[in-house]
């Protein structure tokens, strides 16, 4: 049973990362119906932005100062990239058929990966990420169940991010304008909402959350990699679809479910198909199964009718 609970902890940590990234997909999709394929790269850029910040700080800076600065640096890089991307790649295509922006998104994704791979110093293979939060520091939750400090940080950061976002969307004026734009952009514009600004806001919020995920995964695994955005991006999108795309709580739920499936399948799947080699395959199998029985995702309802 200890193994199960330990895996449950791991699943929650993994799910928190997926959920954070999935929020960016779901917000953008909810408002402009665009699969922002390059969102995984925004997550990756967050990790590299934090690494750059760390390298720019004088060595010996205490972790209590450098860690917040790294988060800010990561968020700044991700948000800048997302805003530029929205302005120059997606906005000109707003009235084009839906295939066009999706292909642009694939192009942006390839471009950002290659940009980092070619021009970030020594980024052709994974770069070491500073281990500011000691991974050997374990907190016991049961006799044989523990959570490491970076894992705890990931979950904390994710929860804070999710709660902040949810409060922002529900309570603030801009948040309510986002909801209105998602429901009916034309009417929202008639009510005096600057929809262009709302769309940028969705990109900015998504990028900030993705950057948090990028930094915390750097802390957890001790490295960042130009390629890390692809598979996480695809998984996070899967999580968003699982939960019902366009639905903010759905993205978080989908993230945790996907994390659970992946970790538990790695542990408990029938023999030849368990283990790390198969975990990605299991996530997609679950996605296909969920879509067959619940085509609009777990919490998605009106999305299908709006096509």
């Amino acid at each position: 049973m200890d193994v199960f609970f330990q895996q449950l902890v791991n699943a929650i940590v993994l799910g928190a990362t997926y959920g954070l990234v999935a929020l960016g997909y779901t917000m953008v999709y909810g408002i402009v119906q665009l699969i922002n394929f390059a969102h995984g790269e925004i997550y990756m850029l967050g990790g590299f932005g934090a690494l750059t910040t760390y390298l720019a700080l004088p060595s010996g800076t205490p972790a209590g100062i450098s860690l917040p600065l790294m988060l800010v640096g990561g968020i700044a890089v991700s948000v800048t990239a997302a805003v530029i991307m929205e302005r120059f790649a997606y906005r000109p295509l707003r009235s084009a058929p839906r295939l066009a922006p999706l292909i642009t998104a694939i192009g942006v994704s390839v471009f950002l990966q290659e940009l980092v791979r070619n021009f970030y110093p020594h980024a052709r293979s994974a770069r070491n990420f500073p281990q500011l939060v000691n991974p050997d520091y374990q907190i016991r939750l049961g006799s044989n169940v523990q959570i490491s400090a970076p894992q705890l940080l990931t979950v904390t950061v994710a929860l804070v991010g999710m709660v902040t976002l949810s409060t922002f969307v529900r309570r603030s004026r801009t948040g309510r304008a986002m909801q209105a734009t998602a429901q009916d952009p034309d009417t929202a514009r008639l009510m005096g909402i600057d929809t262009d600004r709302i769309i940028v806001t969705a990109f900015v919020l998504g990028a900030a959350l993705a950057a948090l995920a990028g930094v915390s995964s750097g802390l957890q695994f001790g490295q960042v990699d130009f390629h890390m955005g692809f598979i996480t991006g695809v998984k996070a999108f899967t999580a968003a679809v699982l939960g019902g795309i366009g639905n903010i709580s759905g993205a978080v739920l989908g993230g945790f479910i996907l994390g659970l499936v992946e970790v538990m399948a790695t542990q408990y799947a029938p023999d030849p198909f368990s283990g790390g080699a198969w975990k990605d395959a299991w996530s997609f199998v679950v996605l296909i199964i969920v879509l067959v029985f619940r085509p609009t995702g777990l919490l998605g309802e009106r999305v299908a009718a709006r096509a």
Binding site: L93, A100, I103, G107, I245
Partner: protein, 571 residues
């Protein structure tokens, strides 16, 4: 250009500044083409010789020729010369850059470079000042006379031949000693790589420029009228010209093997065009169906690395490979095609990843032993039909043919089959229904189209064609390995049909050729190839989303809002 509306009469009486500048620029360019451009040997095209306009200087000369149109005010003249001048400047700048780069500095360029640069600038400035008229060049139809048929046939067949000939020249251009198909792990570049890349780029730009000029002068429209009257002749001429290609290679196989790879890539692109271009279903994991066929073909090829030990006849392999892949298409499509387009995109992407992970793991340790994991099924033996061995060189009509020509013809047959399927389908009742579904699924369903069944048909047919192409390809490249079936391959295929023009066969062919050939030839880009690929995707979507060869309907769909202010106000 609105300020340049000079009355026609005045233009004819006194040549204006624009005509003079353009003419002077063209003369300088012609002169420069006869002077040496390089102060050192080694740049392709004999750039050190004077009086011999070879290589890039030939392109410079060619692009100066439209200036002859200055002698007569043809319709579309100004537009054609503007295009020629743009392209001319690009070719001159590019060539000067590469000559200087490969020669170790600007000091090593030859005397012809200076008049060329001045001429190109004059040409550009002058062409901008040419009087424009409202007249747009129209296509000319030949009068109905007894000589019309032979002349038209000659032109049509000649066009097909010319296109193939240009392709063959491009293919045959030296790409130095780097083996084709090798990947990003290239060593440092030699001067030759740079110089060859430069010349190839100039060649491609020149061809595009000549096509542009011909279009502005109405020549392409005339050609379309003629080919439209003899479509079968056009296709037959193209096919015969393509089939004759191996006879021009003097027994060498290098260009043939590249051409064969382009052929299979194009076949897959045409297959994907059914799914995406006709039925509008976004498939992001198409390469997986190709992979299913490739692995099936490899496993029943009798290869020593195949665990099955089965050796089926090749004809049966193709059919079964297609069927197996089609069944996968049905299995995946049946539950998911009822979903909206975006869900389908992610599910196909997921399937692509599942496929890659699975074949990577079925190596006996992480899973059941079937595919040898990352190493793949290799050493696929050469095909043999009866006593004809595909792996041996042959002599036909006294001409030596390397063994690659056998595989080239095989790919050509495959391509012809896939193209025929596409064309027959797109003109059938089914094809029209697909287009209706693509345009508006709800309206299509309301007119009585069984949308789910037809979408499933498109999906499964696309998968079947990909599977068949995959079995053939496995025998051509002699290996089926997981690396060849990654997401980037699916994205490249998709990019090929989008670049070329969605829903058209020439578009898919052109897109596949460009996307396969450019990275193969542009070695100087080295590691930046994918970066350029990403930027190119973004730019194409921004400026020409309907592709290079657009079907009329699609072009309208993409540019409607630009011409129709009412539509923009609504959107």
């Amino acid at each position: 250009m609105t300020s340049q509306t000079i009355p026609e009469a005045r233009v004819r009486s006194a040549p204006d500044l624009g005509v003079l500048l353009t003419g002077a620029g063209a003369l300088l360019l012609v002169g420069s083409a006869l002077l040496p451009w390089a102060g050192y040997a080694g740049f392709p095209g004999k750039m050190t010789l004077s009086g011999y306009p070879g290589g890039a200087r030939l392109y410079v000369l060619l692009l100066a020729l439209p200036a002859l149109a200055l002698l007569r005010p043809l319709p579309g003249r100004a537009a054609a010369l503007r295009a020629a001048a743009n392209v001319e400047l690009a070719v001159v700048a590019l060539t000067v850059y590469f000559v200087a780069y490969a020669g170790g500095g600007f000091v090593n360029v030859g005397g012809g470079v200076y008049p060329a640069m001045i001429g190109a600038i004059l040409y550009l400035v002058g062409s901008r000042r040419l009087p424009t008229s409202e007249a747009v060049a129209e296509g000319v139809a030949l009068p109905d006379a007894s000589w019309r048929f032979p002349v038209e046939s000659l032109v049509v067949a000649g066009t097909a031949g010319l296109a193939l000939w240009l392709f063959v020249i491009g293919l045959g251009m030296p790409s130095s000693s780097i083996a084709s198909g090798s990947d990003l792990t290239l060593g440092p570049l030699s001067i030759n790589d740079v110089a060859n890349s430069g010349q190839f780029l100039a060649y491609v730009i020149t061809i595009a420029g000549v096509a542009l000029v011909a279009g502005r002068l109405g020549l392409l429209k005339s050609l379309t009228i003629m080919t439209g009257r003899h479509p079968k002749l056009f296709v037959a001429a193209g096919f015969i010209a393509a089939a004759a290609f191996p006879f021009t290679q003097n027994g060498s196989g290098e260009s043939l093997s590249i051409a064969a790879r382009i052929g299979v890539f194009a076949a897959a692109a045409v297959g994907l065009n059914i799914v995406v271009g006709l039925a509008g279903l976004l498939d992001l994991g198409y390469i997986a169906f190709f992979g299913v066929g490739a692995y099936f073909g490899a496993l029943v090829s009798g290869s020593v690395t195949s665990v099955t030990g089965v050796h089926l006849p090749f004809a049966l392999t193709i059919v079964l490979g297609g069927l197996v892949s089609g069944i996968f298409g049905l299995l995946l499509g049946a539950p998911t095609l009822r979903l909206r387009g975006d869900y389908l995109a992610i599910v196909t992407l997921g399937f692509g990843e599942i496929f890659r992970i699975t074949v990577n793991n079925l190596d006996g340790s992480a899973g059941p032993s079937l595919t040898n994991g990352p190493n793949g099924v290799s050493n696929i033996p050469d095909l043999a039909l009866g006593s004809f061995n595909f792996g041996a060189n042959h002599t036909l009509f006294g001409i030596d043919l390397s063994f690659q020509s056998n595989y080239y013809w095989l790919e050509l047959l495959l391509l012809a089959f896939v193209m025929t399927s596409f064309l027959r389908l797109s003109e059938s009742r089914i094809g029209r229904a697909w287009v209706a579904i693509r345009e508006d699924e709800l309206a299509a369903a309301a007119t009585g189209i069984n949308t789910t069944r037809l979408k499933l048909l498109a999906f499964a047919l696309g998968a079947t064609l990909a599977g068949a192409a995959g079995t053939v390809n496995a025998h051509v490249v002699k290996v089926a390995a997981p690396d060849s079936f990654t997401f980037i391959e699916s994205a490249t295929l998709l990019a090929a049909i989008i670049l070329g023009g969605m829903g058209t066969v020439p578009g898919a062919l052109l897109g596949a050729t460009v996307l396969y050939l450019l990275p193969e030839k542009l070695r100087f880009l080295h590691d930046l190839r994918l970066l350029v690929f990403g930027i190119a995707l973004v730019l194409i979507m921004r400026f020409r989303p309907e592709g290079l060869v657009a079907s009329k309907r699609r072009a309208r769909e993409f540019h409607d809002h630009e011409t129709d202010p009412a539509a923009e106000a609504v959107a």
